[in-house]
């Protein structure tokens, strides 16, 4: 028993990720944490997307289940789980059954290397970014399997569309990533890294986010990635695979109930995963704004209150809306529920002010804040853009983004080579 406790304690205070330290107990704890956090994020994202999109479209969105529809995702989840699971008679049973799990596995496995903080990652791989791109590209297989196994025209066309799309945009995406990885090698030894944590540390060491590096090269690479990642996750305006008006629902037309919800889960976690890549590569990962410029104790303290203040702000919003609730007996439960939700948020906010907590949570907070920015962009795109046509999409990928990516890569390499000669002779 003592040995076990000692084993568990031996990791505390380590400056490595649990995977790198080889501590199986903490690896399991981190996996559970990431998995739960991701599921909660997907549920929250579901509600936020519906609310934000609704407000963009001059309507209210879910309002009935729970205060301001807060319980709507849970109601939806229950509905989906209880629904009948239909399998077409002509479908290929095994593949039809496996496909959603492949997609979900591919989406979730990527989070093994996502660095939420210098030590807050399940593990730190030497090939981190390569692993992430590779595993996220596996979801293509699940999509093709789903489309083919349904044995129906619409899912098949949807699957072919999305696989072609994802394979094409992976190329541009890879080039943009390579140009960012190239920037990590601008140090004394001249060796770069593919490790996700190493990339963020390189940004810290060089004193700027890669989006601003070699302006505008970093920005262009980021832009290429930002476009390609929307295409990669099959979201508007690149949601051809699930173009409702053309292919009913694309590759998951024949799916229902629980298995359909797995596709949904996979889509949202894939969105979070690619946003995490973008944040890690160009936006400084877990680093707070101006970590080098505004360093020192007072600044550290100022930035450490941000997480708590954010949650208090959300709590204040809840209380404001509690006051605005209609004063009618029918709304009593909802009012109390909203107030309770506000209290919970406020308590979390207060806990985050405790120095011991805020020091540990800060990195995760900044990372999550940056990722939520991307999530908002996803919703915004969906609200404003029509859908691309397939050939236009391909043209965009191969004739615009790919040459741009190549150009940026070559220019970045050139500037990286010339920089020491010109600026530091």
């Amino acid at each position: 028993m003592g040995q076990i406790i000692q084993y568990i304690q031996s990791y505390l205070g380590s400056d490595q990720t649990p995977g790198a330290a080889g501590n199986m107990f903490w690896v399991l704890v981190y996996i559970m944490l990431v998995f739960t956090g991701l599921s909660v994020a997907v549920i929250a994202m579901n509600w936020l997307e519906r609310k934000i999109l609704a407000h963009m479209q001059v309507r209210l969105g879910p309002m009935r289940v729970g205060p301001h529809g807060l319980l709507q995702p849970i109601a939806d989840a229950i509905k989906l789980l209880l629904k009948e699971d239909i399998m077409p008679a002509e479908a290929d049973g095994l593949i039809f059954w496996v496909a959603p799990f492949v997609v979900v596995l591919a989406a979730f496995t990527t989070f093994v290397v996502v660095p939420f903080g210098p030590t807050h990652a399940i593990t730190d791989m030497n090939i981190g970014i390569l692993f992430m791109l590779g595993v996220s590209s596996l979801s293509v297989l699940g999509i093709v399997m789903a489309g083919w196994a349904s044995n129906s025209h619409y899912p098949l066309i949807g699957a072919l569309r999305s696989s072609a799309q994802m394979v094409s945009y992976e190329v541009a995406m890879g080039l943009a990533v390579v140009s960012a990885v190239l920037m990590t090698s601008l140090n004394a030894e001249g060796t770069g890294t593919l490790s996700m944590i190493g990339i963020v540390q390189a940004q810290q060491a060089q004193g700027e986010w890669f989006i601003f590096k070699f302006f505008p090269l970093g920005l262009i690479a980021f832009f290429i990635f930002a476009v390609a990642m929307v295409a990669e996750t099959n979201r508007a305006p690149f949601d051809l695979a699930e173009a409702e008006s053309e292919l009913t629902a694309g590759f998951h037309t024949e799916y229902s109930g629980f298995r359909w919800s797995l596709f949904f889960l996979a889509e949202y976690s894939a969105m979070i995963a690619v946003s995490s890549i973008a944040v890690t590569l160009w936006l400084g990962g877990w680093l707070r704004p101006f970590p080098n410029l505004l360093s020192g104790t007072p600044w550290e303290q100022i930035f450490s209150v941000f997480p708590g203040v954010t949650f208090l702000f959300f709590a204040a919003m809840c209380f404001y809306n509690t006051v605005r609730m209609p004063k009618h007996p029918l709304f009593r439960v909802q009012t109390i529920g909203l107030a309770g939700f506000g209290v919970v948020l406020g308590l979390i906010g207060l806990i985050l002010f405790v120095p011991a907590v805020s020091v540990r949570i800060q990195d995760i907070f900044w990372f999550a804040a940056k990722v939520s920015g991307f999530m908002y962009m996803y919703i915004w795109y969906r609200g404003t853009f029509p859908r691309y046509r397939f050939d236009q999409l391909m043209q965009m990928g191969w004739k615009v983004l790919l040459p741009m990516g190549l150009g940026v890569l070559i220019l970045t390499a050139g500037v990286a080579l010339l920089q020491p000669m010109i600026w530091h002779p």
């Binding site: 995977g19 790198a20 080889g22 199986m24 290929d92 593949i95 593990t123 791989m125 030497n126 090939i127 390569l130 692993f131 791109l133 590779g134 595993v135 590209s137 596996l138 293509v140 297989l141 093709v144 399997m145 083919w148 098949l156 072919l160 696989s163 072609a164 394979v167 992976e170 060796t191 770069g192 890294t193 593919l194």
Partner: protein
């Protein structure tokens, strides 16, 4: 991160690989074959990780499983498979083929039995942390890049393959 429980994972993964390989060559439906092959390739990527070759594992996943196999699936869906599933699956010289393969297998077994001793019992120590950097050095390091020329030739080969594939598959050039 040193591999843990090596024998267990080795036997698990090699079991998956062999079953996958058998499925590849026995399934009627090419799509099933392709999926079995993907499982085999992913298991092999894991075995690469056990062999301290993370970069090769990553390339295996991203190129083989994510690229080549998607290409395969694509082509399988493009050419209609309904007919070929109902047809005879094995060609007329399959007996000869099996005999030849068995002969090859016998050769392998003989070689293994004869040459068992030449393999060292314990592998030499290897560091994994800078695997990618070391491979990069070998490929295009300023002084250590022994494979620079081969690398360039490989890129030329890919270019030829791209042009060849486009020319072959296009209806009108």
């Amino acid at each position: 991160m040193a591999p843990v429980a090596t024998p267990f994972f080795f036997y698990l993964l090699s079991g998956i690989m062999l079953i996958g390989g058998i499925l590849v060559i026995t399934r009627k439906n090419p799509v099933h074959s392709a999926l079995a092959l993907i499982v085999t390739l992913l298991a092999q990527a894991s075995i690469y990780l056990m062999l301290y070759a993370p970069f090769v594992a990553g390339v295996q996943i991203i190129l083989y499983a994510g690229g080549i196999m998607v290409l395969f699936l694509f082509v399988i869906m493009l050419v209609s498979i309904d007919r070929s599933v109902r047809e005879r699956q094995f060609n007329s010289q399959w007996v000869v083929g099996i005999i030849a393969a068995t002969a090859l297998g016998g050769l392998f077994v003989t070689v293994f039995i004869k040459g068992k001793e030449i393999f060292p019992e314990h592998a030499l120590p290897m560091v994994e942390n800078d695997n990618t950097q070391k491979i990069a050095d070998l490929l295009y390091g300023a002084h250590t890049g022994q494979y620079m020329f081969a690398f360039e030739i490989a890129s030329l080969l890919l270019l030829v393959a791209i042009i060849g594939a486009v020319v072959m598959a296009k209806k009108r050039i």
